[in-house]
Amino acid sequence: MTRRGRALLRVGSLAGAALVWIVVDSRSEPWELGRDVALLRGTGWLACAALLLSLVMSPLGRLHGWWILHRGQGSSQRTVVGSWAAYRRAFGVVAGCGAALHAAVALSTYLWTSWRALLEVPYLRSGTVALWLLLALLVTSFRGPVVAMGLVGWKSLHRLAYVAAALVLHHLLLAPFAPRGLTLVVFGLTAVVAPLRWLRARRVPPR
């Protein structure tokens, strides 16, 4: 199995376990709407966490690479950065799937009679746009579709992950159940870590 495949398997397994816990936890709620809300919150935070983790993988990889270089282990730098990139993709895939699941849960429970609200209510609209972006990024995260479509501007497309994160922040800051304190903390941490991607290490010497 490739490094990317292994990363996807690990992150997917972790997300699956989290999903099982979310479902079990929500089933313990005695009230129907309470169950819906628990499921919504769980899937939403799962997707959000995966998205933010995917955004910080590259910066953390750079940091890790810089640290290795600093310690004079330049030869392993490429491997390390590549591993982090594999996890970035894996978390991105989980974010896209999680967002789709979150939307499906919302539309089939809490919003089941209010689909139009997706277009009219700002935080739902942001969530919807973020979902479409993440789905686009999900599809173009695999080599097959990218080759089939002959994409050349992959980078400028995948930079939309930052736009998706901003939309998710907007979604959370206005959503009724999202804790604002936690939201600001996790996005604040991401904002602190994200600039590390510009951390310039010396060029990795060729193997």
Binding site: T113, L151, L167
Partner: protein, 767 residues
């Protein structure tokens, strides 16, 4: 091959962004999706062009072209910034986040404000704590909480008993100690200025008096323009000149103190009479033999008092009522009493036969009485109101207000005269604007058949004939310090007085000549010079004064905030405010720290109502005031929720064995079991979020568009309402829990037994 420097290249990413912005600016839609869509189209175009970077001969050319391409779209984006903020719900987001985070942090306090003029209660949530103390300011009053549920405490504060917090800041540092663990919180502090409001008058004695409920004082003005004042007990509400055993006395009722205060005309206390708290208006019968006192609280009634000898007063009769009496006055004699009921929007007529008082049919007005007075002979009652709908049906006109004075013939018990007051003068610059006769607030009938009417909205006093014939004689107060006048009194011999609660002043006039002005509060100039910073009490007092004036001030449409929110309360009426069903007016008391506002949570800040409603819908104001939105917001935030009678009783003892605590301890677990706390968590009993109506009320929501949102209201003060839910469709809390929750999505009330629902409803009543 010539190598092109990186510096002369425009990267694909920048080209995509620029093209996206250009595309968006061709048809700007101020929403995120439109920007993302434009970027997407730009990306596809770049794909088509195989994503080649543009190259220039020089770096200067690269910069010049990039700037030229981006300049116009960025300018358009900047211009659409406010629309973006509005469309995406970003206006006032900071306020909302602040309120939300304050409630999420532990310990959390609600309401987030301290009033130093009245008793009040706080809910404090400190998860896992078994004991709690709050210290208001450094070395300020220390308040001990009573546990009323797991990690939830009720904290009482009575400035008259506990003392005032130290300092001069408009924000108060509060130390919360939960099981000995100290945390610091900040509360808003409101130190109200003197507010002489309604007068009681004795033209024969040439005297009028006005209590200042906020500062526990009574101001007495004399016909010659002199003034004296005296401290009263807690929360003086009204006063009356009453003769006791041949001696002229001044009787003062109180909201929080439990007794009536009896003073001689030198303002020396000569007696007291225990009546319990929540005393209201006073009325003296035409013969001067009996005094009627309106009593609110949990047992609304009217107490009739008479002289008991030796200069004392005693209760000689009682009339039980269904609702809290607001204005009361005697009719033609001591056997006839008229009472106004705000919630029922009607007048009640009581007659005494032998010793029993019987009520005749109530006289429906359709809107509550804003002010009420009797004619000298008592055969007529004059009522100021905002509309007259004898059929009881709501007027379907959008934001319909028609200020008027009604004449009620007491014998016929019907409205016999109607005088529309609001009108336009030459001062108006725009079509349809109204600027005179707006918000009649005080009425005083004179022996010569004329009547004085004060107008808080247009800041004037009129002298009119009581048959409403002839033009009014207008005394313009706008340029005086007597802003938003309320009370008006006849001092005899053509002398009259008017009061300004907002300005903290009383003035005496002989005809149109002002013969005396008494500022009982600090003037604007004094406050401005006393203010050291924007956050101190003096600066706040000035802002509150301007805000109070704005609250009562008439917009060009002839409406003010006061028109529907009577002194911050609801007018108990339904209005067309631009939505399909008529909606009952909400109280604006107790709103501090509960952003967003309005039923759909569409206004994160109160100040935005000025730009969102007052300017476009009410056509703005004639008087320029740069800080009106901020001042108005501050004033509305300074309006505390009414203290529940049960809370006041508990506050007196703060005992854990009080029935209120017992009610709490029985109700709180049911509140949790019914999952009410999912959306209404303590301590504010709201999570400050909005939900699609259909998500909570599927059957009711079918009548309205799918996108209509419902703001989660705070449940504090829930028992004060006469109707519940968004459109007031529930007439009791049981209805809210059962009939209006058939789908069981507004709380899991199906999980409760009928007796438990009853317990839960009683618990909700006392929040």
């Amino acid at each position: 091959m010539r190598r092109v420097s990186k510096r002369t290249r425009v990267p694909v990413q920048v080209q995509t962004l620029a093209l996206g912005l250009v595309l968006w600016s061709l048809h700007p839609v101020p929403e995120w999706w439109a920007l993302v869509f434009a970027y997407g189209v730009a990306w596809v175009v770049m794909q088509w062009g195989r994503g080649r970077a543009l190259r220039f001969e020089s770096e200067a050319a690269r910069w010049a072209v990039t700037a030229a391409v981006l300049l116009a779209p960025l300018a358009i984006l900047w211009r659409w910034g406010p629309d973006f903020r509005k469309a995406e719900g970003l206006v006032g987001l900071g306020t909302h986040l602040e309120d939300r985070r304050r409630l999420e942090a532990d310990p959390a306090i609600a309401p987030p404000a301290v009033w130093t003029d009245r008793p009040q209660t706080f809910y404090v949530r400190a998860r896992g704590a078994a004991s709690l103390e709050m210290e208001l300011g450094k070395e300020g009053p220390v308040l001990r909480g009573t546990e009323i549920g797991p990690g939830l405490f009720l904290v009482g504060y009575d400035p008259a008993v506990d003392g005032r917090p130290p300092g001069q800041g408009a924000e108060l540092d509060v130390a919360v100690s939960a099981d000995g663990n100290r945390s610091r919180r900040r509360l808003r502090r409101f130190d109200p200025a003197p507010h002489p409001r309604w007068f009681c008058q004795s033209p024969e004695l040439g005297l009028a008096a006005a209590p200042s409920e906020e500062t526990d004082a009574l101001i007495l003005v004399h016909r010659d323009g002199t003034m004296s004042h005296v401290e009263t007990d807690d929360g003086p509400v009204d006063c009356a000149f009453f003769e006791v055993d041949g001696q002229a006395r001044l009787v003062v009722s109180h909201r929080y103190a439990t007794h009536l205060l009896v003073l001689d005309l030198d303002l020396v206390e000569v007696g007291r009479l225990e009546l319990g708290p929540f005393q209201g208006r006073l009325a003296v019968d035409p013969s001067g033999q009996s005094l009627a006192v309106g009593l609110g609280g949990s047992d609304p009634r009217i107490a009739l008092l008479g002289a008991a000898g030796a200069g004392r007063l005693e209760v000689v009769g009682r009339i039980r009522l269904d609702g809290v009496p607001e204005w009361i006055t005697f009719g033609r004699d001591a056997n006839e009493l008229v009472v106004s009921d705000r919630l029922e929007r009607s007048l009640l007529h009581f007659q005494r036969v032998d010793l029993d008082w019987t009520a005749s049919e109530s006289l429906r007005l359709g809107r509550p009485a804003v002010a009420l007075t009797r004619s000298h002979g008592g055969d007529r009652i004059f009522v100021a109101t905002t509309d007259y709908r004898p059929d009881g049906k709501a007027h379907r006109g959008n934001h319909f207000i028609q200020d008027q004075i009604l004449t009620v013939d007491v014998e016929a018990w019907s409205v016999t005269g109607q005088f529309m007051t609001a009108r336009r003068t030459e001062r108006q610059q725009f079509p349809g604007g109204l600027d005179a006769g707006v918000s009649p607030m005080g009425l005083a009938h004179r022996a010569d058949g004329s009547m004085l009417v004060s107008f808080a909205g247009s800041e004037e006093v009129w002298q009119i004939n009581d048959d409403f014939r002839g033009p009014p004689r207008v005394f313009d107060l706008e340029t005086t310090e007597l802003i938003a006048p309320h009370g008006v009194a006849d001092l005899g011999d053509g002398v009259w007085a008017a009061s300004s609660p907002a300005g903290g002043a009383v003035a005496v006039f002989r005809g149109s000549e002002r013969i005396a002005f008494h500022g009982v509060a600090q003037s604007d100039k004094e406050l401005a010079s006393a203010s050291q910073s924007a956050d101190d009490l003096a600066a706040q007092a000035l802002s509150l004064r301007r805000g109070e004036r704005a609250f009562y001030e008439a917009s060009r449409s002839g409406m003010s905030c006061q028109s529907c929110h009577l002194h911050g309360e609801s007018d108990a009426s339904s209005h067309d405010i631009g939505q399909a069903p008529l909606l009952p007016t909400l109280t604006v008391r107790g709103l501090v720290g509960t952003s967003p506002y309005l039923r759909d949570g569409s206004f994160p800040r109160i100040r935005d109502l000025h730009h969102g409603l007052a300017e476009p819908l009410m056509r703005g104001y004639r008087r320029f005031a740069a800080s009106r939105p901020e001042d108005l917001e501050r004033f509305v935030e300074s309006l505390p929720r009414r203290l529940h009678p049960e809370h006041l009783r508990w506050l007196r003892t703060r005992s854990a064995s009080d029935p209120l605590v017992d009610r709490w301890r029985r109700g709180a677990p049911l509140f949790e079991r019914a999952s009410c706390s999912t959306c209404h968590p303590a301590p504010a009993f709201t999570h400050l979020g909005s939900h699609p109506v259909r998500a909570l009320f599927p059957e009711y929501g079918e009548q309205m568009p799918a996108w209509v949102q419902l703001d989660t209201p705070s449940l504090l003060g829930l028992g004060d309402k006469g109707h519940w839910l968004q459109d007031g469709r529930a007439h009791s809390l049981e209805e809210v829990l059962v009939e209006e929750n058939r789908s069981n999505r507004h709380g899991d009330t199906a999980a409760l037994e009928p007796s438990e629902l009853e317990t839960l409803a009683r618990f909700l009543e006392v929040l």
